[in-house]
Homo-oligomer: 362 residues x 2
DNA sequence: ATTAGCACTCACGCTCTTTAAGTGCTAAAT
DNA sequence: ATTTAGCACTTAAAGAGCGTGAGTGCTAAT
C-alpha cells in the first residue's frame, strides 16, 4: 500500500477527520447525527452512517457496541496522523516561554534536558520523558584529584559531557603534591581507557610515574573502575506522571497501575526509543500496539531525537492516551527538540571555536 | 490531658488494639463478633459492643454507617501509636539486606540517601521520601578549574558535601597555567564566601593575583555566582509512588490525584518536615489531619532525621494510608535512618580524623 | 458487670424496567 | 446512482425494587 491516502474519497477523509477531532475533544464515541452539525459536512445523517460503516470496514473506525457511535481505531489514528493532520503552530506566548526557558540555561545537556522535559509536560499536560542514550564505551576524558583534607580527597572524572565524582578516604596522609601529581599522571596515562583496560602494565607504569607516592595508585584506580561501573549513561526521566490522571482513559486504577509499572521498566523504553530511531530527524509517533510494549494499548508515544553536532545524544517525548491532541503535542515536541538541539550547538562543551556568542554564560 | 493512657481500662486498650490491628490487616471495619475470636479477649460480643460504643464516644473509633463494624479514628491511631504499639524487630534477612546495601556505598550523602530511600520503599511497600534541608548559607569550600580545551573549561565547586559543576566557554584562549593559577587564587581568596560577598575589592584582589590573566576573573566570578544561585540544596525525592496503588485507600482516582498533586508541592513537605522536626532524634509520626497539608486526610507520614556529626542533614520517611503497618514502618525507618547516619559518620567527607575541622568548610 | 436474645438499620448485590442514543436497512426522492 | 427519510432493532447506562447479611443498640435475665 504505497499511498493509502488515495484509497479514500475526500468525503470519507473529511468524515474520518471529523470523527477523530470530535473524539479527541470529548473522549466519547461520535455518532452520525452529531456530525451533521459539522460546518463542512452537508449531507444527512443517513449518508454519514453509510460512510462510517465503510470506514469501519476499512478498519479506521470501531464501534464499542452496536448502539454507540464510532471511535477511531489505531489504524484510524495512524491515517489521521499521516495524512489528515494540519500543521499547528504554537502561539507566540508559547514560543516565548519556550525560548525564555531554554536560552537562559547553560548549554549543558543535563540541565537543558531537565528544563525541556518539564516544559513539555507543562505545555501539553501529558507525561513527558527525556532519554539519554546508553554510553557503550565508558571512558574518562579528564581526571582531577581534589584534595579536601589530609585524609580525604575527591576524584572528579569527565565522562562524555557528564561529571562523575567519588569521595575517597585514605588511611595514609595525602600530601598536597601527591594529589596534583596523581591528577597529571592520570590525565597522561589513563584517558580514553575503559575499565577493563586498566591492566597491570598500565598500573605499574603509573606507579613508577608517581615515584614515592606510588602507594596511592591502586586505591585510586579501584575507585575509578568502581565509578565507571556505577556510571550508567543511559537515563530515562518522566515528568508530570500525575497529569495522566486528568484523562478518563486512566480513571481505571488497574490501567493506571499498568502504565505506572511501565514507567519503571526503563530498559524497555530505551529499547523502543533506540530501535525506532530510524527517523533521526523527524518526529516518531507510536500509536497503541505499535509500541513494542504491549501494555501501551491505549497510549501513544511521541518523541524526537536531540541532535548535538550531528549526533543524536538523546530524545524528548510525550506519553498520553491514544486520544491525544496530536497537533499540539507534535508541534511542542518538535519545537522543544529543535530548541534543545540549537541550544546545545550554540555553546555546548564540544563546540570549540570562537563562533559562539561572547560571554562564558548565556 | 497529660497521660491519656490511664483514661482507658486495660480491657478497652486491648479491644482498641485488637480493632486497629485487625483493621490494619484487612482494611475493613471490625465487628464485635470477629473480636470474640481474639485469643486474649474472653468476653462476649455484647460486652465488646458496649466497650466499643464507649470507645466511640471517647473518639477513638468510628462507624462508617450504622450496620458496619468500627474503624479507628485518627485519634485512635494516635493512641495506638503512642501507647499500644509493641516494638517490632526487623528480621535478620531484612537487617542483612539493609546493611549490605548501605555499607557498600561510598559515604556520600547523595548516593547513600538514594539507596536508603529505594530500600525504604521496597521494604515497606509504601512510598518513601528523602529530604535534604535547604542550605541557608551557600558557600564554596573548594574550587577547581578543569581545562577541557583551548576555549572551554569546567568550573567545579564543592558546596557542603555536594559537587556543583559549570561549563564555561571563553572567547579568548585559556592558557594551561591560567586555569591552574585561577584554581589556587580562588581557593585562597574565595572559599567560605556567599554570592553577595563577591564584592569589587575582592575581585580586584583576585585580578591582581592573576597578573596577566586578570581578564579571566570577571567571567569566572559571574559563573560562580550563577552556580550558587542555581544551587538549591533543598531537595525532596519520592520513590515508589506507584506502590500506593496496591492499597484500596487509593483506588479512588480522585484521592490518588490529590495525593500525587501533593507530592509535587515539595515546599509544603519541606515545611512540614522542618517544622515538625522538634524531635530530632526520634521518629516523627503525623497521622491524617495532623499534617499541615490538608489533603493528607487519610494518609500518614512517618520520618526520622539523618544526623551527621550531631547535625541533622536530612530526613528519610514513608508515606502511606493511615491504615499502615506502623510497627514495620517505624522499625524500618528507624533502622534506615540510623544506618545512614552511621554510614555517614563512618567515613564521610567531614569526618577528619582525630584533629577536628581544620578545613575551609563548616 | 456480663450476656443472650431480638428488633432494627443499612450497604451491597441482584434482577427488572425504562431510557436514550445510535445503528442498519428499506423504500422513496432527487 | 446517490441521497435521504423513516422505522425497527440493539444495547449500555441509569434507576427502582427487593432480599440478604453483617452488625448494631437495647432490654431483660443471669
Amino acid at each position: 500500500m504505497p499511498d493509502r491516502n488515495h484509497d479514500l474519497s475526500e468525503r470519507k477523509k473529511l468524515i474520518l477527520k471529523a470523527v477523530i477531532d470530535a473524539h479527541i475533544k470529548n473522549g466519547e464515541p461520535v455518532g452520525s447525527k452529531a456530525l451533521t452539525k459539522h460546518e463542512l459536512i452537508s449531507c444527512s445523517s443517513a449518508t454519514i452512517r453509510n460512510e462510517m460503516a465503510e470506514l469501519e470496514n476499512l478498519g479506521y473506525l470501531e464501534q464499542p457496541h452496536t448502539s454507540a457511535g464510532r471511535i477511531p481505531s489505531e489504524a484510524g489514528y495512524r491515517f489521521y496522523v499521516d495524512w489528515l493532520l494540519d500543521r499547528y503552530n504554537l502561539t507566540n506566548a508559547e514560543i516565548n516561554e519556550l525560548k525564555a526557558n531554554l536560552s537562559q540555561k547553560q548549554a549543558e545537556l543535563d540541565s537543558i534536558m531537565d528544563t525541556a522535559v518539564k516544559l513539555a509536560a507543562k505545555m501539553t499536560n501529558y507525561t513527558a520523558l527525556s532519554v539519554k542514550p546508553k554510553i557503550l564505551r565508558i571512558t574518562v576524558s579528564r581526571y582531577e584529584i581534589m584534595r579536601i583534607d589530609d585524609y580525604t580527597c575527591m576524584l572528579i572524572m569527565l565522562i562524555g559531557s557528564m561529571v562523575k565524582t567519588k569521595y575517597m578516604h585514605s588511611e595514609a596522609q595525602i600530601p598536597v603534591q601527591a594529589a596534583a601529581q596523581l591528577s597529571s599522571v592520570l590525565n597522561m596515562t589513563a584517558t580514553g581507557i575503559t575499565a577493563s583496560e586498566f591492566n597491570m602494565p598500565l598500573i605499574m607504569k603509573m606507579e613508577s610515574a608517581m615515584g614515592e607516592y606510588d602507594y596511592m595508585v591502586t586505591p585510586v584506580v579501584k575507585a575509578i573502575c568502581q565509578a565507571m561501573s556505577e556510571f550508567d549513561g543511559s537515563d530515562l526521566k518522566f515528568e508530570g506522571v500525575n497529569r495522566l490522571l486528568s484523562y478518563p482513559e486512566y480513571y481505571d486504577v488497574d490501567r493506571l497501575r499498568e502504565i505506572l509499572a511501565l514507567f519503571e521498566r526503563k530498559d524497555d523504553f530505551l529499547d523502543v526509543i533506540s530501535n525506532t530511531g530510524g527517523d533521526k530527524n523527524g518526529i516518531n509517533i507510536l500509536i497503541g500496539r505499535e509500541n513494542v510494549v504491549k501494555v501501551m494499548d491505549n497510549s501513544t508515544l511521541i518523541f524526537k531525537s536531540i541532535i548535538q553536532d550531528g549526533v543524536p545524544v538523546g530524545a524528548i517525548g510525550i506519553i498520553g492516551p491514544t486520544r491525544m491532541d496530536y497537533k499540539r503535542v507534535i508541534a511542542t515536541v518538535d519545537s522543544l527538540a529543535k530548541g534543545v538541539s540549537a541550544a546545545l550547538d550554540r555553546g555546548g562543551p564540544k563546540k570549540i571555536k570562537g563562533s559562539g556568542p561572547g560571554d562564558a554564560e548565556r
